[in-house]
Amino acid sequence: MARKFFSYFCISYLFWLLLYWPFGVDRIASLQGLLVGVPVAFLVTLLFGGVFARQPEKIFQAKRYFWFLYYVPVFIYYCVLANLDVAYRVLSPEMPINPGIVKVKTSLRSRSGLTALANSITLTPGTMSVDLTEDGYIYIHWINVQTQDVEKASELIVRPFEKILKRIFE
């Protein structure tokens, strides 16, 4: 319990630091910012601590951060690719689109992992997640449908992220 409370408190205090950024030139204002952050973060933890993450102790496992650092460039690469793809489809006069909604399967189970996967799918080339079922299927709107088979579509859309996200969130 105390450990849980402490991790919530750390997250809140980090947010306060980013918002206030008390490392400027003015010494007194800096000290003020650092001190006021403590009761604010404490109050926020007390009021909203139970609402968010289920297993906050995961934030102390360093291994996850290395995988996250590895995930960021992969994500940015796919994101830029997606934007060039959309720009090409939008700007070419005949609009080469071939849309449809397909179904893919994922093995992720934790809530934060599924959220991250759905968000990644939305921001990567030609795909957008529409709905999520309880037994691990995601319905995806695909702007250029290459296959309607569940296994092949999963291989094409989900695999590149799933491997990494599994190590971060599960």
């Binding site: 947010f15 980013l18 918002l19 206030y20 950024w21 400027g24 994101c79 830029v80 997606a82 934007n83 959309v86 720009a87 489809r89 939008v90 700007l91 609009m95 689109i97 071939n98 849309p99 449809g100 909604i101 397909v102 179904k103 959220t115 759905a118 968000n119 939305t122 921001l123 030609g126 795909t127 957008m128 997640s129 529409v130 709905d131 319905y139 709107h141 702007i143 449908v145 309607q148």
Partner: protein, 115 residues
């Protein structure tokens, strides 16, 4: 130097936002529009904010811009997802040249089994 790099990032971002909104106008149905616009507007705005960070260096403004990037990356796809689901449930049809709609097929099947 950092000013030039920031300006380049902002220019790329503004262009991508423009492409996204052109897609919003040109594409034929709601799901395609949502897809193109969400992708391009998200990366475009993130790129603009990144340009601001590069321009200003380490300061309070940069930290707020960083928070803004995190929030946009988290919220914008979620909003698109909620909107697509809501539109499908409220009965917006796909474009008539669409290839397949396995979501509607599965929903129909579920309704049949519950009847």
């Amino acid at each position: 130097m950092s000013e030039i790099l920031g300006n380049i990032l902002i220019g790329i971002g503004a262009l991508f936002v423009l492409f996204g909104t052109v897609g919003l106008v040109r594409l034929p149905d709601l799901y395609n529009r949502l897809q193109a616009a969400t992708k391009c507007a998200t990366l475009g705005t993130c790129s603009i904010l990144l340009g601001v960070i590069v321009n200003r260096g380490l300061s309070a403004v940069s930290m707020k811009a960083l928070l803004c990037i995190i929030f946009i990356l988290l919220t914008s796809p979620t909003a698109a997802h909620a909107l697509a689901r809501a539109a499908h449930i409220s009965g917006v049809k796909l474009w008539n040249k669409s290839v397949c709609d396995q979501y509607a097929e599965d929903n129909d099947r579920k309704e049949e089994t519950t009847k």
